[in-house]
Symmetry: C2
Subunit: 118 residues, 2 copies
């Protein structure tokens, strides 16, 4: 309603359609969280990290070798994934092993791949 209702007033506007679709809209919270998750997946480095972890648990050092990026960058990006609870970790001596925290991620990958392969 309100400020976006005062344009395009006569011909195009379909009040019932707009009302119907608005009635089914996601909550602001859902929109925020969804975009947060997808934003985390929308980066090549994080895609590579998550895909590697989808195969097996890995320490930071091995992860940085798999994705061929610096340890610093890998640590930074792992923090992003940690904050979103996409990965979890386990300490063993001075090493830290990361793994997926939520196997839903694998399904998102599968769907994404299905899309890009037409």
């Amino acid at each position: 309603m309100s400020e976006f209702m005062d344009r395009c007033a006569v011909e195009c506007f379909h009040p019932e359609t707009v009302g119907r679709v608005k009635g089914n809209r996601l909550s602001e919270e859902e929109v925020r969280k969804l975009s947060e998750i997808f934003k985390a997946l929308g980066d090549e480095t994080r895609i590579k990290l998550l895909h590697a972890l989808s195969q097996e648990e890995l320490c930071v050092c091995d992860l940085s070798k798999v994705v061929e990026m610096s340890q610093s960058l890998v640590s930074h990006q792992l923090r992003v994934l940690r904050n979103l609870r996409l990965v979890k970790y386990r300490k063993e001596g001075k090493m830290v092993y990361y793994s997926l925290d939520d196997e839903h991620i694998i399904n998102l990958f599968t769907q994404g791949l299905a899309h890009i392969r037409h």
Copy 2:
């Protein structure tokens, strides 16, 4: 190999593990396209647009009312979605009706929602 192999040399490095995981890695093309798709979904405005279109075909004017954002912004974001073949359009007189181009998107939403709802 090469530049990321010269650190962390003795204790942590697990050559078989790294080799095994690297063997299964996605191609650069797949990584690029996957991140592109997820990047497109990683924005609140585009999430709202796609969710609205997942319900029914809508013209730009009605879309801008549903998501309560300016027509200009909606057009800009629709172009992003168009370029990625996430939406398609149909002209009817001076109006343009948009709809989802690939129903896989709905599955991505479903998986994403499953994630954020624990």
